[in-house]
Symmetry: C2
Subunit: 172 residues, 2 copies
DNA sequence: GCAACTGATTGCAAAATGCAATCGGATTGG
DNA sequence: CCAATCCGATTGCATTTTGCAATCAGTTGC
């Protein structure tokens, strides 16, 4: 279940962590979609992960140190998953991955608007986003000045705007 | 063999391209190791890819537009694989992946020195490297001033330096 | 009480992977 | 000229991983 360690190359070791079809998808939904519960991840993702795979990956990501699990006080059965610093620092990789995919792959507009915003914002926006995630997941005090719109709000607004524009002027 | 298209999300589509254990390893060896032939990729990589998997992935990467294949004029049997622009623009992703792995995973010093150099050099160095790759693989004219040491030379020198230092002061 | 929901687990078929052996053609050394 | 070697794969087969549906036992809301 843990790591193979085929070689000590950083790229190889990174691939052994999330060189599969689901681990990064789960982290994407937690980072950008704000999902924290098993069912949210199960039903919320567009790609339709199976529950056994999800359970397996969550376990694996915890073992690798990317996630932690805690009891949700509001519900004795609910578990709440949190991103660790190790996972939060994946934001730049996610941003680059999104930027590359947007250029070379048949992405849909609604789904790529977030990647575009993240690309345009560059490293400063990534830092602000990572700061927010640390606040939400690790409980760290936020360094962004109060009143600043959160990155998640910006991402959401950009998405809504595209959806609204498409609804009023359907192209297909 | 081609793409699943589970969703139009850029991160998902990117994962469908190289969300497996070997595709990025092959591209890494071509980009950073300068390997162009089947046997070089087969025997040269530390991770020990099987020949059938290598053949499968080379075919797949060609179908996806990341590689092209041409006859080697010097040897009627040899094929030479080239990176396309699509593959060359993976350099920033590779750099970020290496940087992340260097922080969070048990990398070895010899193998992570290249990631370190690439991280320190930042986007300008990435651009220079991509320019070199375009020159080597696509035949584009190089924009870097003559006399400048190539990134590949710098990467090689940094690696040699670590190996030499380790040889004269063995820690284990 | 009971239906709906919680985070999972089980069983099973299908696909991917890892590994070793092998292929036919091309080249090289003597 | 001929054997050995090298070339990019291909084949067969056992093991592992994946995808999918059904199911589980405990919790909650009504």
């Amino acid at each position: 279940m843990s790591i193979d360690r085929r070689s000590g190359c950083p790229i190889n070791l990174s691939l052994e962590v999330f060189g599969d079809r689901w681990s990064l998808i789960i982290l994407r939904d937690m980072i950008f979609g704000g999902r924290r519960h098993f069912r949210e991840l199960l039903n919320g993702s567009l790609e339709g992960i199976a529950s056994n795979i999800l359970a397996d990956r969550l376990k694996r990501l915890m073992e690798l140190g990317l996630l932690t699990k805690a009891d949700d006080p509001s519900h004795k059965q609910k578990a709440i998953y949190s991103l660790t610093e190790m996972a939060i620092t994946l934001v730049p990789i996610m941003a680059q991955l999104g930027a590359w995919g947007r250029v070379w792959l048949p992405v849909t507009e609604e789904l790529s608007i977030r990647a575009e915003l993240l690309e345009k914002g560059g490293p400063p926006l990534w830092e602000q986003f990572m700061d927010e995630l640390r606040h939400e997941h690790v409980g760290a005090p936020s360094k962004t000045p109060p009143g600043t719109p959160t990155v998640r709000q910006q991402l959401r607004a950009a998405y809504e705007e595209v959806v609204a524009r498409k609804a009023e002027a359907p192209s297909v």
